[in-house]
């Protein structure tokens, strides 16, 4: 009887030819940190693995919300509630980052964002002793901008690299669709520095040279915004990761 059952199970397995079985081995060794926000709060940003992180809401809103998400049910919502003034709603991971590091996140704009002059949604910040809240300099950033045809685009700038790094490929930012921005950042206090930016897997910026005041760098997402020209002020962020290698536009994150 047991033999019959075994053969029946075997025949079924052969005939169906499919199985959802898998082996889970935990976090990938190339991933330094990641979040899919499915904890429902900001704990992945502020805690998780060392050295942790922090939230800077400014006068605006930085929180994990349910409903619109790339993976699962939760995502990070950054909303600028100071349309007429400079504000800095940010979620950050502490430094020091590895000298060579990839920082990736997926973004969603319900409507086109129209800052008066800039909305840095990706920011690398350097710190110097004594590493307190005032001992920093904003370095490389990726900002939303308005392209000549009116669509939303991106721009890379930094104190050392200039106000606008020429793009390798000028791509529009999709509206009401998740898109990925992945940055390779080689912290450089001299000419060894390098910054590469991919949008949905396509290289859009590549620049080398000094890009940081110190070798202590940290990564932030959200907004450093001067002011807004329209009412639209929301940016959703999900599936963020810091990694040793380029991820590319991977499928939505999964826990095990």
């Amino acid at each position: 009887m047991a033999v019959t059952r075994t053969m029946a199970a075997l025949a079924f397995a052969l005939l169906t030819g499919c199985s959802d079985s898998s082996f889970s081995f935990g976090s990938h060794p190339d991933i330094i940190w990641w979040t899919d926000h499915e904890s429902g709060d900001l704990s992945d940003w502020t805690g998780s693995v060392p050295p942790g992180g922090f939230i800077l809401p400014g006068s605006s809103r930085v929180e994990v919300v349910k409903g619109l998400a790339r993976s699962g049910q939760y995502a990070l919502l950054v909303q600028d509630n100071s349309p007429d003034a400079r504000d800095y709603p940010l979620a950050a991971r502490n430094g020091p980052l590895p000298v060579d590091v990839y920082c990736s996140a997926w973004y969603y704009l319900p409507e086109p964002l129209r800052p008066k002059s800039y909305w840095w949604f990706v920011l690398f910040r350097s710190r110097h002793p004594p590493y307190d809240t005032g001992s920093f300099r904003d370095e490389v950033n990726v900002s939303f901008t308005t392209r000549p045809d009116g669509s939303v685009g991106t721009r890379v700038s930094s104190p050392d690299l200039g106000e606008s790094v020429p793009p390798v490929l000028d791509l529009p930012v999709p509206i009401a669709r998740w898109f990925q921005i992945e940055v390779f950042h080689r912290t450089g206090t001299d000419d060894t520095g390098e910054v590469d930016v991919w949008q949905d897997g396509e290289l859009t910026f590549h620049v080398t040279g000094r890009n940081s005041e110190t070798t202590f760098a940290e990564w932030m997402v959200g907004g450093v915004v001067d002011s807004l020209t329209t009412a639209a002020s929301q940016l959703y962020i999900d599936d963020a990761a810091i990694s040793k290698r380029r991820l590319g536009p991977v499928p939505p994150f999964a826990r095990e």
Partner: protein
């Protein structure tokens, strides 16, 4: 004719090798070659064991037919340690166990009349028709019929047990070409094996190679049968960029077997189901999993010989439901192989 036939037989012996030499000698004796030459030939029977006095009678026999029948009958009777000697007028050293007369005056019909000398008048024989038998199989058919007729004669009373012949039959006698249909064979094979899983079937960075030992037990009846095989190997690594997953795999299969033979060459085709015990380990995280995967297997084995034979084999395993290797947060980075190829060399031992 007596002078030309031995020359012809000598040429046959040279052309066909040692196997034909005995036949040539027998025919030389049968046709009364000259005395000097006869004295130089080996005697028949050569040993002190039992022997059959074979007498060709009738007008339908050709020398070539007689030669073929003698050769085939020698093969048949060698299993019972009986020697076959074409009839001569010389006085043998010992009396034959039986005299077999093959009578044929019609090319399509042969009468077989065996008799034991102790049972005077106890003749019993049989006639076989050759018309439906291919030309090249007639000698074998006559020899087998003569063997059966001799067994019938010897059924009562039982012939004396013959001591082993001092000179056993030549070892280069051809093996029987028609095996009894009811012969059951047991075969056990073992040998080193190399299994490989191409990258296209794992998504790994390189082909996975797994040295192992293959053990297989097969039972066949004539051309069909079954086999059970197991492959014992060491752990092997699946490498996906910076991730290396160690896999221990123990496949066991049960297969239907088809056997094809051509002389000493045997081909065995196995097809069946395979179950494999899997143990996957990612050492840096100290995480391991065990599972059983199911699939189909086909294998082809070629061997040469009869009892203890070398073999070489190739196999393919198809696993339709491979297991994903998952890491957070990206998900699957690859999977267990959905196909394994195997190559083996080794030895096989067979029993009947």
């Amino acid at each position: 004719m007596h002078r030309s036939l031995p020359s012809f037989l000598a040429r046959v012996a040279v052309a066909r090798g040692a196997r034909s030499a005995g036949v040539a000698v027998s025919f030389a004796l049968l046709f009364g070659w000259n005395g000097v030459a006869r004295a130089a030939e080996a005697k028949c029977p050569r040993g002190g064991g039992g022997w059959i006095d074979l007498l060709f009678s009738g007008t339908a026999w050709s020398p070539a037919q007689q030669e073929d029948v003698v050769r085939e009958l020698r093969i048949e009777l060698s299993r019972r340690s009986l020697e076959v000697c074409p009839h001569t007028e010389d006085l043998p050293a010992s009396p034959p166990v039986a005299v077999v007369t093959l009578l044929s005056s019609d090319p399509d019909r042969v009468s077989i009349v065996p008799s034991r000398l102790q049972d005077e008048g106890g003749f019993s024989g049989r006639t076989i028709r050759l018309g439906s038998i291919p030309e090249d199989a007639r000698a074998l058919a006559i020899a087998q019929a003569a063997d059966e007729a001799l067994r019938g004669v010897s059924a009562t009373p039982e012939p004396p047990v013959m001591p082993p012949a001092r000179e056993p039959p030549p070892k280069d006698l051809p093996a029987p070409t028609l095996a009894p249909a009811s012969t059951v064979r047991l075969a056990v094979s073992i040998g080193p094996m190399l299994e490989l899983a191409p990258t296209a079937f794992t998504a790994a960075g390189k082909t996975v190679l797994a040295p192992a030992m293959a053990l297989r037990v097969a039972v066949t009846n004539s051309r069909f049968g079954g086999s059970i095989g197991v492959v014992l190997g060491r752990s092997t690594d699946f490498v996906f960029d910076s991730v290396s997953i160690s896999q221990f795999r123990l496949p066991v299969d049960a297969s239907f077997r088809l056997v094809l033979r051509a002389g000493q060459l045997q081909g065995a085709l196995d097809a069946g189901a395979v179950l494999a015990l899997l143990r996957e380990e990612y050492a840096p995280a100290h995480r391991a999993h065990q599972e059983v995967e199911a699939g189909a297997r086909a294998g082809l084995t070629l061997s040469w010989g009869d009892r203890i034979v070398p073999f070489m084999g190739a196999s393919i395993e198809v696993l339709p439901s491979p297991f994903d290797f998952r890491f957070a947060p990206m998900g699957s980075i690859g999977h267990t192989s959905s196909l394994w190829l195997g190559f083996a060399l080794g030895m096989e031992v067979r029993w009947r």
